[in-house]
Amino acid sequence: MEHWQMRIQVILFGTLRKGFPDHDPTRGFEVVLAGGSSVGDLLDYLEISRSKLGLVTKGGVLVKADAKLTDGDCLRVFQPIAGG
């Protein structure tokens, strides 16, 4: 683990916002993580289980759990979707 830290903006969607009273509907909230953290590390930090997770996007692109984060990233986190 690297010793520097980075700030990540996280916006949660659907009912994932429950349990995060500080979540702003448009800006979400900011999380401080250790440098070198991945999307998966962020989800673990937020205690969002993989079964509750549909997709994560960064700048309009889907990212996988092992994708590395960089300082200032904005991530959008969605639940699984179904249906039509």
């Binding site: 509907p25 997770l53 996007t57 692109v61 889907l62 759990a65 639940q79 979707i81 179904a82 249906g83």
Partner: protein
Amino acid sequence: MIFLKINMNRKSISVEDVPQEYAGLGGRCLSSVLINNEVPATSDPLGSENKLIFAPGYLSGTPLINTSRLSIGAKSPLTGGIKESNVGGTVAADLAHLGITALIIEGAAPAGEYYILKIDINGDAELVDADQHKGLRTYALVEKLKQTYGSKHSITCIGPAGEFQLAAASIQTTDADGRPCRAAGRGGLGAVMGSKGLKAVVVAQGGKRADTLKDAATFKETARAYAQAVKADEFSGEVLPELGTAVLVEPINAAGAFPTRNARSGQFENATKISGETMAAMIKERGGKTTHKGCAGCIINCSNEFVDKAGAYVTSSLEYETIWAMGGMMGNDDLDVIARLDFLCDDIGLDTMSTGVAMAVAMDAGYRQFGDGQAAIAMVEEIAERTDFGKILGNGPAAVGKHLNHERVPVIKGQSMAAYDPRTIQGMAVTYATSPMGGDHTAGWVVDQNLKEFGGTLDRFSAEGQVEASRNTQIHMAAVDSVGICDFAQTGLASPEGIQNVYKMITAKSGKPFGEDDWSQLGLKVLKAEREFNRRAGFTNRDDRLPKMFYEEPLPPLNKVVVISDEEMDSTFDF
């Protein structure tokens, strides 16, 4: 288990036991097989040879939750092919409780004559002159019919658009609160109902003549297990009740697959203003309802009641596809305008998807400005006023494109695409192109499989595996639409025992063994009948294609095009 046949030429009604060849069929399977057998494929969709079928699903009216699904079928004036349009509300359960397997509307009343088909609690039916109701919009019509017959009836009806026999006309049916806000929108079946001279079908609720279950104890026990699975699932148990289908706006937009401004972009910069999250907060603040039961026997409650700033009812239910068609597709970010347009479409009897996309095409051609909500409201009113442009708009996007000499018309077999751009979810290209229904999302929704990054199996930008995924989902959905399980209650199917539970309930109702092969055979029977009808109606492989905009115009911001080849499209079905 009876067919109620209504001949609109003779104004006669006959009751017959379901013939052996149709025994055990329901919903889409019954309507599509009937139409393929009995309607001349080259006939005029608005002529007396066409038939209009109302068929509850095979499991409608049983103790299983979320099965008040009605298949309405006919030859479509929009696509020129066979059509099944699926709708919820309460009518499917009510027909099934009267032991009615299908209503079959034949012939046509003389032009300008309208009738109401009234079915009482004993299942006795009569045709009642509806001259006094001519021209009424659906909300006013339903109020009058409830005054005459009492509120304990389901009402399935057309508005002015159906009377004008426009190709985007819907058939509206009442929800659990008795409002005509549930739409069999696709395919222009409201025009077929109008051509028959049928203004409304009024069905008594609370019938006691439902089909006997051969093994009621097993059925009930299995239905309980199925309901528990639907409740336990996060999407149907938590997300849909809270946010409804509008929850899809943000993720589909984030994935670059939300067709915006007549599909010139895959992302709408103001999507957050029309998202499910924003809508739910707005409804709650204004005193409306976010968790609302729309259909009989529903335990999901994905519906909502949208209210204005003063807290007064505007519409129910504001859904993802409508928010897209009346929002992103037109570049409109005003939820109040979207809600008003939704209400107007329900009231005039119009498909929100065909109407929204038709307006997006008009805006793309420069007829009006993208994002001009008031212009959109005025255009929809023109349909009811029957102005020259209103007549064109009411016939859907292809009619508008032709009139304005505009090439960018996102229709397949004459019917508009839905709210998933096929350039960034390639599997939807296969479904849109090859479904016998024309552009349709419910026929084979392969969005989740395409999200490989998080649990899906397919690369959404690649052709690999897309044909197989779409084919399998289309077969599966044809079976789902035949047994009459709500699309969203399919979450109960997710586990292996989930689909086994469905087989078990079919067996418990029929007394005959039913398994995995039978499920596939059921779906295939539907698709074979539908494709056979379409072939005889003149469709060829060349109709199983998308408009060239999807192959040639890269979709920003991901700049992808459809990469499924013609050969791959043609390999979807070998019949």
